[in-house]
Symmetry: C2
Subunit: 287 residues, 2 copies
Amino acid sequence: MDDRKLLASIRTLIGEEETADDCAAFPLGDGRVLVSSTDMLHETTDFPQGMTEFEMGWMSVAVTLSDIASTGASPSQVLVAVGLDRPERLLPFMEGAVSCAETFGAKVAGGDIDSHQELTAVTTAFGIVEERYCCRRSGAQEGDKVCITGVPGRAQAALDGRAEYSRFLLTPEPQVSAGQKIARAGASSMMDVSDGIVISLYDIADAAGVGIVLDESAFPLFEDSGYAKTCFLFGGGDFGLLFTASDAVLEQLDTEYTVIGQVVAGDSVRMGDEVLPRKGYAHVWGA
Amino acid sequence: MDDRKLLASIRTLIGEEETADDCAAFPLGDGRVLVSSTDMLHETTDFPQGMTEFEMGWMSVAVTLSDIASTGASPSQVLVAVGLDRPERLLPFMEGAVSCAETFGAKVAGGDIDSHQELTAVTTAFGIVEERYCCRRSGAQEGDKVCITGVPGRAQAALDGRAEYSRFLLTPEPQVSAGQKIARAGASSMMDVSDGIVISLYDIADAAGVGIVLDESAFPLFEDSGYAKTCFLFGGGDFGLLFTASDAVLEQLDTEYTVIGQVVAGDSVRMGDEVLPRKGYAHVWGA
């Protein structure tokens, strides 16, 4: 059983809508929406070996800010709950957390400290966005272009030993400013791609009941190789934003992105005629 | 080193104000404040032995709703991040979490699932309160009465084996409705007492630069014994609200509470002439 199947098992309990997006949304009653996201990371599974405490703190905050970014919201506060095996790890961890938050316009406003067998971090970020601009995973329309920010795949390459890309793995940058521009321009859907592009495209396709066709000649790759293409499609750890938008919206959009495909009728994610497997980074339960 | 000392070590990094209260506060710019709180619990340290998954889920949500209650806010959403050693524990855990949230007017709106060596839960709760009513830990004034809701000590007694009180330990009830009434009446300070009454009174005294004198004849005890008095003063796990308020405020207050003492000049918490030790429930680091 992987995370997505496990999530499905509690969908009727929590609600379809509540489990469909990385962010929860709460209407503030005045045209604004509070969006929030929480993520749990722990050392043996989620932090690459050799990572410093500063980098763990940075990454812990970056993952939830990336979720906030994908709605188009301005992040405001981050809460940090950290379980520590050794108390002296707290200060460098929090330095990384605070540094990441401040870099992207948020503030670490509180948290909790616990003793734990291994370093375990849960950050919760929230942000505010005008309701009319709030982007969700659903909403892709046939005919929309499929777009990505940045050059995804480098975090996976770093994980595979390519040291020149290690900063993309160790101190990933949530695309807060790009997310706001994309949402304000009127994108039809958006999500971040931390689990990989193809699996995220399936999320977008499923949420809107559409299919997606990719144009592999358009992929922004970190090098011209089959390996780079595999990292691009299936690698985890990158913090790009995946979004769909009409040509009219794209004409107004003032941020860097690449058109990598198109929304079509159907229910699969294809590259030319090849249906891509629904795979990416996912915890697997049991063995 | 205990939690409070560890917290002090990062105070300059995070900010004095941000580490002074259980809840973070974010002004929404329209006279309202968003309050939020996050807590990490895990099985070996925080959940009494023999607790069911439903009870763990309930308690995980109750601890943060109790923090929200202590500000006077209406809780709105709860995010639940849970690390699981066995995936089949998720459903009963989430049933407990959802049940607690709904009982106290909140909604589980999202979360995260992770695999972990032991069951680890972090809930983050949000609530909204009008700025003029938002209660904080600081604000106690000389001459105010010191008050408590409920009959604290029963959770500790249950932990010590008194099965008749086990529901106070296993499915504690955050005092959401009382918190709103106390805040609206105009209490000068409020906090919840999950770590014990005396240590919480020191928090209130320190935050306002005052002292507190308790009247032991007024304590609402679960039985007439020295043991019950010790549980009342130093036991953990209860979810009462501790607050300070002037006589004029108390005259208007329509909720059940007991006056247990008075705010005075000074810097200690006394019972008659006896200065009470600054102790309660606290994680201790190292050995």
